[in-house]
Amino acid sequence: MKSLNTMVSLRYTAYKATVAVLSLLGPVNAPALEWRNGDWQVHGFLSQGFTYTDHNQVFGTSEDGSLDFREMGLNGSVKLLPNLLISAQGLYRDAGASDDMGTRLDFAQVDYSSPLLDSTLVLGVRGGRVKVPFGLYNDTRDVLSTRPSVLLPQSIYFDTLALRQAMISADGGVMYSRYTYGEHRFGLELMTAEPRDGTGGATVFLTGIPGAQGELGGRPMFIGRAAYEWMGGRGRLMFSIVDLDRDFRSASTVAPSGNIKVQYPLFSAQYNAEHWSLTGEYGWIDSQRKGFMPVTLKNTSENFYLQGEYRFTQAISGVLRYDVFHVDRNDRDGKSLSRMTGLPRHQFYARDLTTGVRWEFAHNFLLAADYHYINGTAWLNTTDNPDLLSGVGDSDWNLFTTMLSFRF
């Protein structure tokens, strides 16, 4: 009851803040920030979220209602030549214990492309700190207006786990090509980059050693994404893959050094009609950890969701999704992993039934809310939920999250 009161009062505060912000910005239809006929552009976004859970914590102390979910970005792009683009984005993000990195450089890149064959073929290169091309939503996942719901399907786009940082952007280069033939469009992106796995707790996550001291090194990661689009995106098919092979050099005498290999293939499909979209993604994470234990640890997960969106009006849409994560696809109910580790079975799966709404209530303003019924705790962050390490935690729980966003 106490948490409900807090929630109501927090929501009232959020509502008052919203009204205040809105009355300031009011009906002003701010022009886009661009110069030289759009060759110089500045864009940004500002989002504040609220999370409430009845059990387990997501993005801070959500059992009491948490406002610890904030995403802000500011970017600039300059077209120096018709086919030469320079762009950079600074990002501030706060998501409880899942993200405490604060301000960071999200991307800073140079992009050169060249149209060939009567402009049906475009070849290009991009270098610097570049966004990781992966699946349907990874490239711009910190921007609410590009997400179907407040929280992305967590089976594929981990936001609470420390693997997130390594998936956002990396330092390296991308070669890409696009080819158009009638109603068919083909795209290919190949990336090689130094993963940012020394940040955001990714080292601990990848090695599986709590409080791991040391450094990850070795060869850069390879990422590929192939896409097919039919009728300007009415139908979309995609295949993405991440290939990671890292050596861990332990800095402590207690923890051993070792090697981690990860392969993450992902298949994506989407159909867009005028009023509805149907989306699905299916993938698995193949991992192999050597040297940390007397035996080599191998595991293959299973990650997928199916999602339907309906646009009631141009401003209001709804989403319904079923999202599934199995830590081991040969042990979907977590029985043998539970026996091996002594932890409850629900820590090895998470099935999330989500329904949500999005309302673009004014130009460039978006309010989104989703409700999740979740069975399983596999993707919860253990810093926000230390009880999970000692085998405590609720297997069935509800999550409500809402976010207000402004972008330009």
């Binding site: 976004f45 970017n75 792009s77 762009s87 009567d118 966004k131 711009t140």
Partner: protein, 156 residues
């Protein structure tokens, strides 16, 4: 030009009917499909009294000779230079402007939300720029004509 149609998906229903071996369902679906063709066809607006859409550009017509897929790539902001190597500057009306909706559907064969989401993905990943939004058709004509490499659309 192309008009978005979900009609082809109706075949799945027919196939599902066939697969389940229920001929009754098949014939019923078939009848509904035929009926809807008859009912829908005369209703398809031919816009006799409506404005005719056309592409406009600063050079006075080079865009007219482009293939429809090239025009689509230009408005999706995935092509940044004209065949002569000069810069393309794209102008659009607001997402909810009736002429923009018609242009997206009839000229590009897509829905406005698809354009918006593609532009957002470019802008917030730094891999492209957004088109310049103008508030009215008059502004559109003025801006396109006065901007080297400008391209947009108008009704006549």
């Amino acid at each position: 030009m192309r008009r978005p149609s979900d009609f082809c998906f109706a075949h799945f229903v027919v196939m599902a009917g066939l697969a389940s071996g229920s001929w009754q369902v098949f014939f019923r679906v078939q009848r509904i499909l035929l009926l809807s063709v008859i009912v829908l066809l005369p209703g398809t607006p031919l816009q006799a009294g409506d404005l005719k859409l056309r592409l406009i550009d600063s050079s006075g017509g080079q865009a007219q000779h482009l293939s429809s897929e090239t025009v689509r790539e230009i408005f999706f902001m995935r092509l940044s230079s004209w065949p002569d190597g000069s810069s393309i500057h794209v102008f659009v009306l607001p997402d909810n402007h009736p002429l923009h909706i018609r242009f997206a559907k009839e000229f590009l064969g897509v829905y406005p939300f698809q354009l918006r989401s593609a532009w957002d993905r470019l802008v917030y990943s730094g891999t492209g720029v957004a088109p310049t939004t103008v508030e009215s058709v008059e502004d559109m004509v003025k801006r396109v004509e006065s901007t080297p490499g400008g391209v947009g659309y108008a009704g006549e």
